[in-house]
């Protein structure tokens, strides 16, 4: 019987490709000239998702480099808008580039990410699917421990 496999954390997971995972990496983290998306593993005391990435528009123009809740670069003039259960990254037009919502359970958290994300060639890499996101044409790498922690050590 075919099956798909990931990891699951008792504390916090992201929902991607209809699978739970404590964290995932798409592309090459910190690549300076192409699309990547890191949804980092949360520490037990953390509740809000930690997302980093470099995003492009459908024409392959560089839009924004995000780290957590701050811009590293924002040549596309995008806006960060908070909501009750998460945040959105908006194009200057107001269209949603990326929506991040976190559901709170009695003993844990689940973050859903939705949006259309393109790379520098204008290829669609991530698209909305049901109540989360689907990754196109490549495998994402599940993470069991924070990438931030290993970079800081």
């Amino acid at each position: 019987m075919k099956f798909r496999e990931s990891l699951i954390s008792a504390h916090h997971n992201y929902l991607i490709d209809r699978m739970l995972t404590p964290g995932f990496l798409l592309g090459k983290a910190d690549a300076k000239d192409d699309f990547w998306l890191l949804a980092d593993v949360l520490l037990p005391e953390e509740r809000a998702p930690f997302l980093c990435g470099r995003f492009y528009d459908p024409e392959g123009r560089f839009l924004v480099h995000l780290r957590g809740d701050q811009w590293v670069e924002n040549p596309g003039g995008c806006r960060l808008q908070g909501s009750g259960d998460g945040f959105q990254i908006l194009y200057p037009s107001g269209e949603v580039l990326l929506a991040v919502r976190t559901e709170v359970f009695t003993n844990g958290y689940l973050t859903r990410i939705q949006g259309k994300l393109y790379d520098r060639s204008g290829l669609l890499r991530v698209e909305p699917s049901f109540d989360s996101a689907r990754v196109l044409d490549e495998a994402w790498h599940p993470l069991a421990s924070p990438v931030r922690a290993s970079k800081n050590s």
Binding site: F3, R4, E5, L7, A10, T106
Partner: protein, 336 residues
């Protein structure tokens, strides 16, 4: 008995994730803890199987409570339990993965679903077990279950068919503490799910909840046929109120209409683990005592000095239940 080809090829301990009424219904967590103990002896892993729709929270809970693997089948057609659909899906998973042991709680759900599944898999099932052990040499699951109307406890094995299946009474094992740092593997089998179109859910409504939660009560006051009348049984409610506890009952007391079915303790009712249990007018039949044996302190009141209940009591009072309850309540009312 020698191992057959069938028994040789199986591995892993599976537990069916019964997450309905989750925070009150802890039986799956209890089975995970026991499963981990057994898996340690067999050198294998514990997998919890979760069927449903939007069940992420429960998958995370099972990881937190010790599951090595959580196997999830997510589909809208599984949101509402239908026995044939669930049986078909789970039978397919068992045939593909071939677990060595498969356990479920002896809840209303488990008691309907697991026998049907065992029949489909052509394997044996021991119901309402009160204990589980393994024989690592042979790979047997030793399933201890009341037999012959509760007169005996029988150790049952399923030597040549797999998986070895059992349902276990809630409250028999102690769950592990929730560990928010836990990380487990999660597996998503690609399964065709088709709802059983012979049956259509028209409406559902939640059962009216009890005012108190018997299974979590620190004090339980329980009564049986020996109390004689409904009025005498009624004294237990005041005693429970004085002590901050809940009332339980034996099957004869429930059948006499003295207490609701929700208050039934024992093999076909609830199991309790209170700090103090006072049991009045109960003989000590094993069908009842399986539900109270985990109490920390047991006080038994019975007019028969030879009643079996006294063998498990920490303190025994021989006398008429009504008389002793009257004296006890008088003392307690003065103190409150």
């Amino acid at each position: 008995m020698k191992k057959t080809q069938e028994t040789e090829r199986t591995q892993g301990i599976w537990i069916f994730g019964d997450y309905r009424n989750y925070f009150q219904n802890r039986v799956t967590l209890q089975l995970i803890a026991k499963g981990k103990e057994l898996a340690g002896k067999l050198g294998t892993e514990v997998t919890v199987l979760v069927l449903g729709h939007q069940v992420h929270q429960f998958a995370m809970e099972y990881s937190a409570h010790g599951a090595d693997v959580v196997m999830v089948v997510e589909h809208p057609a599984l949101k509402t339990y239908q026995v044939e659909t669930y049986t078909r899906v789970v039978a397919g998973l068992v045939e593909a993965w071939r677990p060595h042991i498969f356990l479920a709680g002896a809840t209303a759900f488990g008691r309907e679903f697991f026998p049907r599944l065992a029949k489909r898999l052509k394997t044996g099932l021991s119901a309402d077990c009160v204990s589980l052990e393994v024989d690592p040499e042979h790979g047997w699951l030793i399933q201890t279950t009341p037999a012959f109307g509760g007169e005996l406890l029988a150790d049952v094995i399923t030597p040549e068919h797999r998986p070895q299946m059992a349902t276990v009474h809630p409250g028999m094992f102690k769950e592990r503490i929730h560990d928010k740092t836990a990380v487990s593997r999660i597996v998503y089998p690609e399964v065709q799910v088709e709802a059983d179109d012979r049956v259509q859910l028209v409406r559902s409504k939640p059962e009216q909840a009890q005012k108190g939660n018997l299974q979590d009560a620190p004090v339980v006051v329980a009564g049986g046929r020996g109390l004689g009348t409904k009025e005498n049984f009624g004294m237990l409610f005041e005693l429970a109120a004085c002590l901050g506890g809940e009332v339980g009952a034996t099957r004869p007391a429930v059948m006499a209409g003295w207490a609701e079915e929700d208050r039934l303790l024992g093999q076909t009712g609830k199991s309790v683990k209170p700090r103090l249990l006072i049991t009045v007018g109960t003989s000590g039949a094993v069908q009842y005592t399986t539900g109270i044996q985990a109490a920390e302190t047991i006080i038994a009141i019975n007019r028969d000095p030879n009643a079996p209940i006294f063998k498990m009591a920490d303190l025994g009072l021989v006398g008429e239940g009504r008389t002793i309850l009257t004296l006890l309540l008088e003392k307690l009312r003065r103190r409150i």
